[in-house]
Amino acid sequence: MTAETGAVAADGSARRWPPRVVTAGLAVILLALLLIPAVTTPRFLTLDNARAILASAAFVGITSVGATMVMIAGSGVSLATSQIATVVAMFFLGTQHLGLGAALLIALAAGVALNAFQGAVIGYWKADPIVLTIAGGFAIGGAATWFSGGTTVYPGARGFEVLNATPLGLPLAVYVLLAVTVVVEWTLRRTTAGRQMYLVGENRAAARAAGLPVGRVTVLAWAVSGACVALTGVFLASFTTSATVTLGGTLTLDAIAAVLVGGTAISGGHGSAVRTLGGAVLISVISDVLLLRGYSTGVQILVKGVLVLTVVLVVHVRSGRGRR
């Protein structure tokens, strides 16, 4: 029996499954989930449907790829994602009269600043991410309601419509999702900062003792995640053409679900942007199949919950046991 098997050891604990095995397992499940409906569901294997799957994965996917970095760096999850995306969307539409470029810059700056601030409090002051982001979510949502008076934000110009373009038949957001995935994956694998995120996530105390810049690494992870949330807010605003304080909807939990289904360890130190992309697409595929088969929205949400729970149990609990 080797460490690669993940089988039960003499002390009763299971050894950790290596990432390659987890990736292969998830790939097999993904393939099975793609092949079975492909054969049995009418209209699944069409170009239009493939386009719809990618399009519906784009908004959540962009955010979840950024959230992967936060989770790998050991900060768990942000529960203020929806509120930040909403505020960014409001900034973006509210500054359209300044031109698309300026509005984009303002939106990105807002997303990065709001998220990086939370990252700083977590990285430098060791705040609990869950508690902090719950408070942050309330504060940001409350401030947005206060300043907007609850009214809808409408654009003063229509420059944003270019973001609804569909080059080669695919929404621009899909290309941005792919680009963001490549950039985040490259950063994680090929840069010093990326590798430090894995180390900080694996063991924060040891990383600090080893002299790694824990605070700076955490802030960087949250800043990149903030940029991704901002991009989602920008595309959401462009798609709906107006923004209310509820625009973010269920983005927070949807993004967390995609990261978890992608197999990233919630305790930090393991994971990849590419796998998160797979998680986001997998959730979109399952929702699509259920919809094609006539199941209601409620069933789709239920199945998404069961899928996340299964992955957490199979991947995270078993791999966690191996670490003890």
Partner: protein
């Protein structure tokens, strides 16, 4: 440790500063039927939709402004969370105001609290959506005509498809939360009118939970499922649900409106919907604007508290809005 204390002190200071700034100053009193009536010393608990919802925000603004000249004290207990609403309603009953004004988020969950209010002798006025039938006789009401709103949506689709010369047509429907009576009543009206044109039929109906993002996602999938030849019309229950349908259709290569494009309708208006009708994309919508119902509800409150015995239930008159009359309703529909 010092940094942590500094951060805590700064946070506390900021909170106190914001609190010290106080709430928003009262808006200037508009002229209206409520001026000249004194309700000083009377109290109302407003357990309405929260300001996080644009419809609710404008309702609350107009309702408060309309009643301000009367001197009635309004306790703000608004929320958009059904569970919180039950708690706030129970708190309101305990405070024994002269009237509780409530817009119900969960009809079933609010049935028992309404019965408690009746037992405690606290009168309840429901606005917008109806209460659970088991307590319908226990409350007063100013209701939107949701069945009529659904009828108007069906009329828009039938008119649009006939104008395109179509002998048949398939329709997709994205509803609000299906468990809400508001949604059920709109679908009742929609199906009733659609039954008069059996050549047009609903091929898919999905619960989009009053969520614009979810509406867009479901629309993308349904349009792919049925294809360009498989969907000729779509009904999104509110403008902010219909516009994502239009966007999803555009991205999927559909033509919108015109001689042979997708006919998309809504059934309660917002500024974005009005703009879309003017742009020739959204075929039509209907009123159910927050300003009109807020004014009627405020007027009802004054009549009730001054002992004028208004009818137990009143229904707000709704209007159908299309390109033909959009100018007439543009201002009314542009506040949310």
């Amino acid at each position: 440790m010092f940094r942590t204390r500094s951060l805590a002190a700064a946070t506390l200071g900021l909170t106190l500063l914001i609190s010290a700034c106080g709430g928003r100053p009262a808006a200037p009193s508009p002229s209206g039927g409520t001026s000249g009536t004194s309700l000083s010393g009377r109290t109302i608990a407003l357990v309405g939709y929260g300001n996080g919802n644009p419809w609710g925000a404008y309702f609350n603004k107009v309702f408060t402004e309309r009643l301000a000249p009367t001197g009635v004290k309004i306790g703000d207990m608004t929320t958009m969370d059904p569970g919180t609403q039950v708690q706030k309603f129970n708190q309101a009953v305990a405070q024994k105001p002269d009237l509780i004004v409530v817009s119900i988020l969960d009809t079933t969950a609010m049935a028992v609290p309404i019965k408690k209010a009746g037992a405690a002798g606290v009168p309840v006025l429901v606005f917008d959506g109806p209460p659970d039938p088991s307590v319908a006789d226990a409350v007063m009401s100013v209701l939107s005509d949701n069945e009529k709103l659904g009828e108007y949506a069906a009329q828009n689709i039938i008119e649009g498809l006939k104008a395109q010369g179509r002998d048949s047509g398939d329709i997709i429907v994205l509803t609000g939360t299906k468990s809400m009576l508001v949604t059920q009543h709109r679908m009742k009206g929609f199906n009733k009118v659609l039954a008069t044109a059996p050549q047009y039929k609903v091929v898919d109906e999905q619960d989009a939970n009053w969520d614009p993002q979810l509406s867009g996602t479901i629309a993308q999938q349904l349009l792919a499922k049925h294809g360009k030849d498989g969907v000729q019309a779509a009904y999104g229950m509110a403008d902010y649900m219909a516009l994502p349908i239009i966007q999803a259709a555009k991205q999927a290569g559909f033509t919108i409106g015109g001689k042979d494009g997708l006919i998309v309708t809504s059934s309660n208006c917002f500024k974005a919907g009005i703009d879309s009708i003017k742009a020739g994309e959204l075929y039509g919508t209907a009123t159910e604007d927050p300003g009109t119902i807020a004014e009627q509800t405020a007027d009802y409150v004054v009549r009730y508290l001054t002992g004028k015995n208004p009818p137990r239930s009143e229904t707000v008159q709704e209007e159908r809005v299309t390109a033909a009359n959009v100018g007439e309703f543009a201002e009314q529909c542009s506040h949310a």
